[in-house]
């Protein structure tokens, strides 16, 4: 049989199938859309949690080395060089005690006048160390703490770790929900297609009695699955991207700006969403069709 004829047959029968079983087709597309929209929601949450946790981590991911007031400038320089030569160090910045007080006054704003009444500056000279990676932190702290002339080493370890673990928790939780949702959706769509196929049992059996090859029988159904999956995916993309776009502009303007937390702009992830959704939509369609058709191939 000519390939072009098989191709034409597959396309024609596929679309005819979708049209003739409109209700079922609509249900399938609806299911795919619903699942993908929820999936999109979760992906957005995960992406943003990751982004926020990275930016927050950066803010907190510094080690403060407070120096004794009694040591000499020579020793201060030495300590700076030692820290700078450590392999985990990305950058070291010296903050004099006067600068620290100024900065504190500034940061406190109105409450800064509380500090006006101080006789001596109680703040220490400080080295602010930026790490290549969080994993170097404990080694570096151990390394420095023993040195002479160090009053205290301060690191927001707890906060950073809790932050990381919170973010990880949300991500793991999200991935679990995604997996459950995917299973549920494959289940729903598999059933939908199983029913589509069952409702055409007579047709499939007849095709087989007439002597149509297995590919010829399966082709239109698989194509139908792909088309339904794609339609669901495209609907979901429209809903998710527009919804997210609206959410971003609304929330960035009105809500989270005060937390200096910004959501990832929609256009930065639209391509990923497109690829992910179409892949999943088509995958679900093909998978559902094949699984549903399997039992008919033994006839």
């Amino acid at each position: 049989m000519k390939a072009s004829r098989i191709f034409n047959h597959t396309i024609k029968q596929g679309f005819q199938g979708i049209y003739r079983n409109r209700t079922m087709s609509l249900a399938s597309v609806g299911s795919v859309t619903a699942v993908l929209v929820i999936l999109g929601l979760i992906i957005m949450i995960i992406l943003n949690v990751s982004a926020i946790s990275v930016s927050t981590k950066e803010k907190f991911d510094e080690i403060y080395v407070y120096l004794d007031d009694s040591i000499t400038n020579q020793r201060i320089r030495e300590i700076g060089e030692e820290i700078g030569s450590y392999e985990g160090t990305l950058a070291v910045v010296f903050q004099s005690k006067d600068y620290a007080l100024e900065k504190m006054k500034e940061e406190w704003g109105e409450d800064g006048r509380l500090l006006e009444g101080l006789v001596n500056n109680p703040l220490p000279n400080t080295y602010v160390v930026q790490l290549r990676d969080v994993s170097y932190a404990s080694a570096l702290i151990k390394h420095i703490e023993q040195k002479d002339g160090i009053e205290e080493v301060k690191y927001y370890k707890d906060i950073v770790e809790k932050l990381i673990s919170t973010a990880e928790f949300i991500q793991v939780f999200g991935v679990i929900v995604i997996i459950i949702l995917l299973l549920v959706s494959i289940f729903i769509i598999q059933n939908t297609i199983k029913i589509t196929v069952a409702s055409r049992k007579v047709e499939i059996e007849l095709m087989q009695y007439i002597g149509a090859s297995n590919g010829f029988v399966r082709g239109p159904f698989i194509f139908e699955g792909v088309v339904l999956g794609c339609m669901g995916a495209f609907l979901a993309i429209i809903v998710v991207l527009n919804g997210y776009d609206y959410l971003v502009s609304y929330s960035n303007e009105k809500l989270f700006s005060m937390l200096s937390v910004y959501l990832i702009p929609a256009n930065m992830i639209s391509l990923d969403i497109l690829i992910i959704f179409v892949t999943i939509g088509v995958g679900i369609g093909i998978l559902g069709s094949i699984v549903s058709l399997r039992k008919f191939l033994s006839v």
């Binding site: 007579v202 059996e205 007849l206 087989q208 009695y209 007439i210 002597g211 010829f216």
Partner: protein, 228 residues
């Protein structure tokens, strides 16, 4: 055309529908299969088109052993056989025209020959004016004739008809039998299951009688009842 060697079919519930059948049908012949309800006539056909596998025995078709066929080879085998099913098996969501065109598409006929052949075969069974109707808008006998049209349209080597006149009035039955005779005359082998005594007695063809799954009679130029 085909041969059965000691074929037995026992269904899953241990019911023996066909027992130790030996049968040889020649190319180009015309044979009737008769027998009481439940004798195993339809089971014989199902064995022949690989809808069921025999429990025992061997089946040959055109010299080839088809007792067990892989799922890839079943379609090729079935294209050589046109079946008029006892329950018609028309597609309710397709029009009469589409039902027949569908059978042609399935085996890869060109759109051109589909456009030519479908009207031909519809006028042959006298239903040209029902081409755009759906099967459930047809009278029982009309549905049966569509099933016949569909079985012959691909010009198979062998046509099997399971009670093709069960829902037809005598006149229409006669017309259908004329069509079958003509098709047979052109070289197609015909095997027909029927309860219609008038037809069998009139045609004077080979008659194979089944009873409780066994062949109890096989006569050339026979009648519906033995010895008439």
């Amino acid at each position: 055309m085909f041969e059965f060697h000691n074929v037995t079919k026992i269904y899953k519930n241990k019911f023996t529908a066909v027992k130790d059948i030996n049968l040889k049908i020649e190319k180009g012949s015309f044979s009737f299969v008769v027998g009481k309800s439940g004798a195993g006539k339809t089971t014989l056909i199902k064995l022949l088109i690989k809808e069921v596998n025999p429990t025992e025995g061997t089946i040959f078709f055109n010299g080839e052993d088809i007792t067990y066929l892989s799922s890839r080879r079943i379609p090729l085998h079935r294209r050589k056989v046109g079946v008029v099913f006892q329950d018609f098996r028309l597609l309710n969501k397709k029009t009469v025209y589409e039902n027949i065109a569908f059978a042609m598409e399935m085996v890869g006929q060109s759109p051109k020959s589909i456009r030519r052949e479908v009207p031909n075969v519809l006028s042959m069974v006298g239903l040209s004016d029902k081409a755009t109707n759906f099967p459930n808008e047809l009278a029982g006998g009309e549905q049966q004739r569509i099933a016949i049209a569909r079985a012959v349209v691909n010009r198979p080597d062998l046509i099997i008809a399971d009670e093709p006149t069960g829902n037809l009035d005598p006149e229409t039955s006669n017309e259908i039998m004329k069509i079958f005779s003509e098709i047979n005359r052109r070289g197609t082998t015909l095997l027909m299951v029927t309860h219609d005594r008038t037809i069998v007695d009139m045609m004077k063809k080979r008659v194979i009688e089944l009873k409780n799954g066994r062949i109890i009679r096989d006569t050339e130029e026979g009648d519906y009842y033995e010895g008439f």
